[in-house]
């Protein structure tokens, strides 16, 4: 029996606007085990980002349960959620979200600042992880001095520096050209295969989703497909 890292049951999310309340996620159920590589697909507006933000503890569900590493997040304080974001979860955004004024090294080390790690520890960890994502020698550059693909590598390094159990990425290749996209996906694949990091990656491109083992497809806030990625694409090709 593999270890369930994420357990989602009846997860709903509504947005309240002046026009009234609109339900975007209509009750999701799934489980993600440690070591899995999951792609999330679906048309634009189907609720992929909404779901990822909840899973990344950046947003909260309207109802339903969401457990991470065996703990129910609905009862957690904002500090406890911050703790989860700091050491259980890594999050990679489409738009990189790096601090522009700050060096690459300090960007990568930032999660460790909130763990009160000392400077030497932070620097060593940042350098090690930068080497891993292929950015040796860029430690003291600033985000605006490197390419988009390199910036996304920095963001991945930042997500990894705290040694999280799971990495969420919302359209991580959305701002990158095809070649760079595949380089980034190779990096993710290596992290999953060699380092055993659990991955959940949103994309709307089939050739990106094909890197994953499992595919969850969302349509209008409901799960339309949840199964092996290969089977889904073979079926479609046929």
């Amino acid at each position: 029996m593999p270890e369930a890292l994420i357990r989602v049951q009846g997860l709903k999310k509504s947005y309240v606007s002046p026009a009234g309340s609109v339900e975007i996620l209509h009750g999701l159920d799934f489980q993600i085990n440690a070591g899995e590589f999951v792609a999330v697909m679906g048309p634009s507006g189907s609720g992929k980002s909404t779901m990822m933000n909840i899973l990344g503890c950046l947003d909260t569900a309207s109802s339903g349960t969401f457990e991470i590493a065996g703990k129910d997040t609905s009862k957690m304080s904002s500090d406890q959620l911050a703790g989860l974001r700091n050491d259980v979860i890594g999050f990679v955004f489409q738009g990189f979200n790096l601090l522009q004024r700050t060096t690459i090294e300090d960007n990568v080390a930032l999660p460790l600042v909130y763990r009160s790690a000392d400077k030497a520890t932070r620097r060593a960890a940042a350098r090690e992880i930068l080497a891993k994502v292929g950015l040796d020698g860029y430690a003291l550059s600033r985000p605006n001095q490197i390419s988009g693909g390199q910036q996304q590598r920095v963001a991945i390094a930042r997500a990894l520096v705290g040694k999280p159990k799971i990495l969420f990425a919302d359209e991580p290749t959305g701002n990158l050209d095809t070649t760079t996209s595949h380089e980034i996906m190779d990096l993710f694949t290596g992290l999953n295969r060699q380092d055993g990091i659990t991955l959940m990656i949103v994309t709307h491109e089939a050739d990106i989703a094909q890197y994953a083992d499992r595919l969850i497809r969302l349509v209008d806030g409901r799960i339309d497909y949840d199964g092996p990625a290969r089977a889904y694409f073979q079926e479609r090709a046929a």
Binding site: L58, D79, A82, R85, N97, R101, V113, R115, G162
Partner: protein
Amino acid sequence: MIGPMLAEAFSALGANRLRSVLTMLGMVIGVGAVITMLSVGEGTKAQVQATIESMGSNLFIVQAGSAQSGAVRTGAGGVQTLTASDAEAIADLPNVTAAAPVAPGNAQVVTSYGNWSTQIMGTTEDMLVARNWSLSSGYSFSDSDVRSASRVALIGRTIVTNLFGDEDPVGQTIRIRNLPFIVQGVLAGKGQSLDGRDQDDTILVPVTTAQRQLFAGRFGDTVRFIMVQASSTDAMSQVQADMTALLRDRHRIGEGQDDDFQIRNLAAMADSAAQTAQVMTLMLAAIASISLIVGGIGIMNIMLVSVTERTREIGIRMAIGARQRDVLLQFLLEALMLSLLGCLIGVALGVGGAWLIKLLGGLDTVVTPESVILAFAVATGVGVFFGYYPARKAARLKPIDALRYQ
């Protein structure tokens, strides 16, 4: 934790250098003004205190004339009714340590070195007791000098400087209104009086000499006023009552008639001068501290702008694990750094201002360590108070809302 946060706050302020400097300016001016104003107040207070001490303690001035005599107002000193024997009688009252009659006047004084116009006081040895004056050289005049109206003089330091230069004046002759006087002693330096007069620019001669020889015809056997010293502060009201009774009796003033003299309590005057100085200090400081509050509001304003501008940054920090208190601390530190840096520059400015006022305005200024500590305490308070609201606003953002902010 606090180390990288301080560096972070510093670099955040550095990223918007002009804005940070302009924001600090409010604090700089506020603190500078408070420090300068307090220094002026302190200086005045110190000056008043020194003057009070130099004046002698528990003093009365008894002047001829009443504040109100019938329908006709007569200025104090207008009617000459006080005599040197009144002073002698007062000196015999209980708890009176000295009663010095004073017959003053201005005169041209000449030596072979130069000439000088100054104030001459005809008085007795009691003057030295009452005013707590001592001699830096020579000796005082005696009762027999007074009785025989001898031409001896005690001179102040300013007189020595102007009429003798570096020479020792004791035993030398000076000419006052063309009459030769022997300098018998030199008064120790006293500095300025409460009204800013040079107390060392004076010459004391026996009261009889002044009455009969120097200012003959002006006083007769009367004096302008009598300076009286009580033995203690507690005895002052008793001494005042005794003097009133004594003088009314000596001047044969009937029941129901007004006094023909006035008794002024110098201790009370000095007290009120000290109090005025204190009130002035407080008022100046209060006015100056308004600019501190304005400075604080400036900091709050900029911090609110900063929080809005950096909403995404806050979102990013939260997304990787910053807790509410981390964000709160970050913005609070920035506000504090602004106000404390402003305070530091303000203190320097205030000290410079105090020095300039002393140099150019001739006012005594004293920057006390207390006022500097006060400035830093207030600056900390202002930073925390005006920085808290923007910082809390930042800390309370939901991560996803902060991240979505464009």
